[in-house]
């Protein structure tokens, strides 16, 4: 390789490799200020704070007084909730700031199993405490569009996140 070719190679390398690498460093530094939704992914133990949960259809499956394990799968703000060992009950939800909202509805699988028959969705509305370690939530379960059905208060603690127990 002669001197002319070496110079061209050095110029090309600078523009095509070195400068983009500097750009990458800039992107990584500037991205540190970005914030992502609160992480709620993992296994949660949800507990109803009263036996009123027995009065709500299917509520005892989601948050019994003794505690129920609920798995949350998260993709950004979008959540999928399912009961551990009970594939019939699924919920789609979102997390906005610290507010978690999810609507449980029996899936095609669960509807025919007789575990619980829901004609209306069961709404979970909770506030997540992002500063607690492990993370916890407080809120209530209510029947969608049913003003005579009293909401049931619930409390939850994350048991496992990122595959690691707390």
């Amino acid at each position: 390789m002669d001197r002319h070719q070496s110079r061209n190679f050095a110029i090309a390398y600078t523009f095509l490799v070195a400068l983009p690498v500097l750009g990458l460093v800039g992107v990584l530094r500037s991205g540190r200020v970005l914030s992502a939704p609160l992480s709620v992914e993992g296994i949660w133990k949800l507990q109803a704070d009263s036996k009123r949960s027995l009065a709500l259809p299917c509520a005892r499956y989601i948050a019994s007084p003794r505690g129920t394990a609920v798995a949350i799968s998260q993709s950004g703000k979008d959540l999928t909730l399912s009961l551990v060992g009970e594939p019939g009950l699924m919920a789609a939800g979102v997390i906005e700031g610290t507010t978690l909202k999810a609507m449980f509805h029996p899936s095609r699988e669960g509807a025919g199993q007789g575990q619980c028959q829901m004609h209306r969705g069961l709404l979970l509305n909770a506030t997540v405490n992002g500063k607690a370690n492990p993370r916890s939530l407080t809120g209530n379960l209510s029947v969608a569009d049913c003003f005579s059905c009293p909401p049931v208060g619930i409390y939850g603690v994350r048991q496992i996140s990122n595959g690691q127990p707390h």
Binding site: M1, Q5, F9, A12, Y13, L16, V17, P20, V21, G23, L24, V27, L28, S30, G31, R32, L34, S35, A36, P37, L38, S39, V40, E41, S73, Q74, S75, G76, K77, D78, T80, P87, S107, R108, E109, G130, S161, N162, G163, Q164
Partner: protein, 426 residues
Amino acid sequence: MPNIFTLVLQIAVILGACRVVGTLFQKIRQPRVVGEMFAGIMLGPSLLGWMAPRFETYLFPSSSLGYLNALSQVGVIIFMFLVGLGINLKELKSQGHAAVLTSHVSIVGPFVLAAALARFLYPRLSDDSVTFTSFALFMGAAMSITAFPVLARILSERGMLSSRLGTVAIACAAVDDATGWCILAYIIVLIRAAHRQTPLWLTFAGVILFALMMIYGVRRLLQGFETAYKKRGVLSDNLVASMLLLVLASALCTEWLGIHLLFGSFLMGAIMPKEQKFVRYVLDRFETITVTLLLPLFFAFTGLRTNIGLVSGSQMWIYCGLIILVATGGKLGGSMLACWITGMRLREAAGLGTLMNTRGLMELVILNIGLDIKVISPALFSMMVLMALTTTFMTTPVLELICPQEVIRREVENASTPEVGLNAVA
């Protein structure tokens, strides 16, 4: 204990599906591996689970997936050893400065674009358990990878391994993969450090020490395999078993050090002797069971984790389109630009860019690691799997358009480089 009936049934269904779909894809001039990847997706919630959820739950109950995963991981460990074995970084030196530049641009280009895209996707598809740096670095590593075995397969099928385009592509893909895995190791250490007692510096020191020991110590001992092969023309079963034991020991070391099993097996392959006949012999000994039995299990396991239903709504599909666009633009565009600048004809440069854009199985391996360590969410995982499928699927038709086989055949006539690659692996 695993339900043996369920496990054997799963394996039979997976093997059958992969063979059928793989053969169908071969008929449309796609590498078999692309069809097998599609078969895996078809067996998961994206198709079978959507069309016949009860049957999918019966066939793949969640309690059985651990065993399927374990078997598939053994397959990927051996596969990564074979990938490392097929990689010869010395080839890059023989290609001169043009290949060095192309190779580095084909890593940096998609890496920078992916990091820029990560700025947009992080608040939308990630969560605060992952730092932006980890997320962006992972996206960069995932988008800058090239499926070395699939690329070798495509080149071999088209008779392009001896062409200038083929040799440069193979050399660049080798560098891309080695670099991509180093970056991935760094990310895994960063992420796992949060859950480990060992200080970060100690983990890095351990990894570097292990790598140096392998490169400067164990490598010399491995020459014994080549010597034994040269003497008898074959390796005894004891020697093959010893080789396998070394692969597993190396994999266990890197897992214990806090990176991942696959780095150890890849490194063991990379430091193996590179004499062509020896490489071909070892590939032949290990390939059959890996390719026909274990890798299809990995495709199925990946398919079971891929839920295209999570990519719902126009917004999510726009994100998915952006990922495919950035991955293709960065890899194909970057490699093409570098080649063209260094004096390759535009047609050749475009051909090389297309080849480098092949991600295939390597991408799936990386994505599964990303999902395991939770650096990417299930929805992003599904989008990236779609990107891997799209970029791999498009390679053959686009290449045929840019570099018709007739033109390549004329070019290869004067070349004399013997063809050795991971043919069957792909």
